[in-house]
Amino acid sequence: MLARFSLLVHIASRHLIVRRRQTLVATSGVAVGVGFFLAVSALMVGSQNDFVRQLIDVAPHIIISDELRSPPPQPGIAAYPGGAVQLHGYRIRNEVRGLKDWQRILASVNAIPGAIGSPSLSGAVTLRLGGRDEPLAIVGIEPGLEARVSSISDKLRAGHLDDLERVQGGVILGEELAQRLGRGMGDIVPATAANGTTRSLRIVALVKKGNSQLGSSSGYMLLREAQSLLGRPFIINRIGVKLADPYAAETVAAGLEARYRYKAQSWQERSADFLSLLLTRNVIMYTVVSAILLVASFGIYTAVSNSVADKRRDIAILRSMGFSQGDLQMVFVLEGMALAVIGILLGWALGFGLMTILGSLEFPIGGEIQHMPLDRSPRQYAIAAAASLAAGVLAAWLPARKASRVDPVDILRGAV
């Protein structure tokens, strides 16, 4: 069996060596296809991963807020489900905003392996300075917990998250906002809450520019102080959750929501529009790239089918010698495979080179030198190789089948 295979490989390789130019054209077609596939997909996948990482990291993986996706059933309706009388115009019971029983929610979040929850209270205040009003969404946090749940501490230009604990009335503002107010580190800004409470806040840290999500209009305070400023003692209205596996966020969020009825929004839900955009982008990329690989396989088809046409006489001889139809089909499929494999190896080298060039390009963005995010995982190499090999074998198989059906009688009789 092995001897037979090595004999067929021998015959196929002789055919390819004799037809050097065709071999070169077909293999370089595959090589260019594979090389550009690698470069393009490294860029696309790399930038996508980078983008998704930012989507995930910009906020906690799951945010449980004190909103409800549907209003709670009114007591009358709960008491008489499916009743014959429908109630209209009943007075809706007012409930105090905030997550009720939030300690229990937090405990069950923390019970999930690898998950951490951070409670917070957000509310609106106004910063009033020199006749200017700046609205500020204030978030009261536990610095120790929040640092583990969000990436806020990496985004501070100056100061430290822990300084909130150390400084009475400490606040963290965005750089842009501080600039607009004409205030810097250590300066005092007066804040007024909706209920009229006014406090003097001291800027203890600044959030770097360019983090628009953290916003030019939001700030961080200590949870206790925020509760006191907003006049909502002991209340929190948000729990941020960080998971060990960000991709589990959707299911975990659904579980939490089913259990506590509060809206638990995963990062996937939050960025569904971006994710669907990425999906479209991937479909486009793989369409274009498979077209490249398909065109490369045309080269293989041409090469193998020319080889079959050229070798009709040899096919007849080998058949008369006792080679089976399967043998001859195998010879030509092997030729296609060899072309594909050589092309793939060259294409890998080309792709590697292109990625090295792309990776070495530098882009100054926002005052920092950035490199293109590239995905250099072996997975891309494997996908390119598998697709080209499959296309190559298929492209060779069609003419190879024709080769196996050559009728030796016609050729042996009419031979020149």
């Binding site: 037979r4 002789r14 058949r319 010698m321 006792g322 080679f323 031979a415």
Partner: protein, 233 residues
């Protein structure tokens, strides 16, 4: 009484058409080991067609072809290929060597395909086969570097590679000068008389036909005469 290697009974080959053109009509023939059989007849009489049927290259549309008591006409393509490989050797009017392979490699092809010998044994056997046809020194040459007679002798060596019981020739001397032609005929006679193989040759050369042990004459697809010219001693 020796058993025939191959027996054709009412062997028939028609082409598609209405009425179907008949290439071989109800041929009956027994191919005997140790005998040199020549098939003769005017061109277009169906002698080559009969040879291709006997050699399993073509499939009959009717009749039986018995080899070791089995009907080859009913076998699958792969089974027929396997029998061809192991028991049949072909020599054509044109040498039909693979141009990319040296003379030695050409002779090695059927040996390697059969796969019964080690690589070293394959090479040794191919070398000795080439020596038998007087080409011991030329095994490394590509076919294009050999003369017509040499190529035909390589082709004969290749036909004998797997020690076939039946050797078939389709005008094997058709393209050779008289010296080379005589040499090939001598080789064929030796294959039959000294090695005990069955040899069947299609030829229009009456000189060769006269040297054969059995002469089969054909006309219009029919075997019209089977004549013993050289009864076994």
């Amino acid at each position: 009484m020796t058993e025939p290697v191959l027996v054709a009974r009412h062997l028939r080959r028609e082409l598609d058409g209405d009425p179907p053109p008949v290439l071989v009509a109800d041929a009956d023939l027994a191919v005997m080991p140790g005998r040199f059989t020549a098939i003769v007849g005017p061109s277009g009489c169906g002698k080559s067609s009969l040879l291709y049927l006997l050699g399993l290259i073509d499939r009959p549309t009717g009749g039986q072809l018995l080899f070791d008591g089995r009907d080859l006409a009913q076998m699958s393509g792969d089974e027929r290929a396997a029998i061809r490989l192991e028991h049949f050797g072909f020599v054509f009017q044109f040498h039909f060597l693979l141009p990319e392979f040296t003379a030695l490699e050409n002779v090695m092809l059927p040996l390697r395909r059969l796969g019964r010998l080690s690589a070293r044994e394959v090479e040794a056997r191919a070398t000795s086969l080439l020596a038998d046809v007087g080409l011991a020194e030329k095994g490394w040459k590509l076919p294009e570097k050999l003369s017509g007679g040499e190529r035909q002798r390589v082709a004969i060596a290749r036909a004998l590679a797997n020690n076939p019981r039946l050797v078939l020739g389709d005008e094997p001397t058709g393209n050779l000068d008289s010296v080379n032609s005589a040499r090939v005929v001598e080789l064929f006679r030796a294959l039959a008389h000294e090695q005990g193989r069955a040899v069947v040759c299609v030829t229009h050369d009456m000189g060769i036909a006269d040297l054969a042990d059995i002469r089969v004459s054909m006309l219009d697809g029919r075997v019209i005469e089977v004549r013993e010219q050289n009864p076994p001693s």
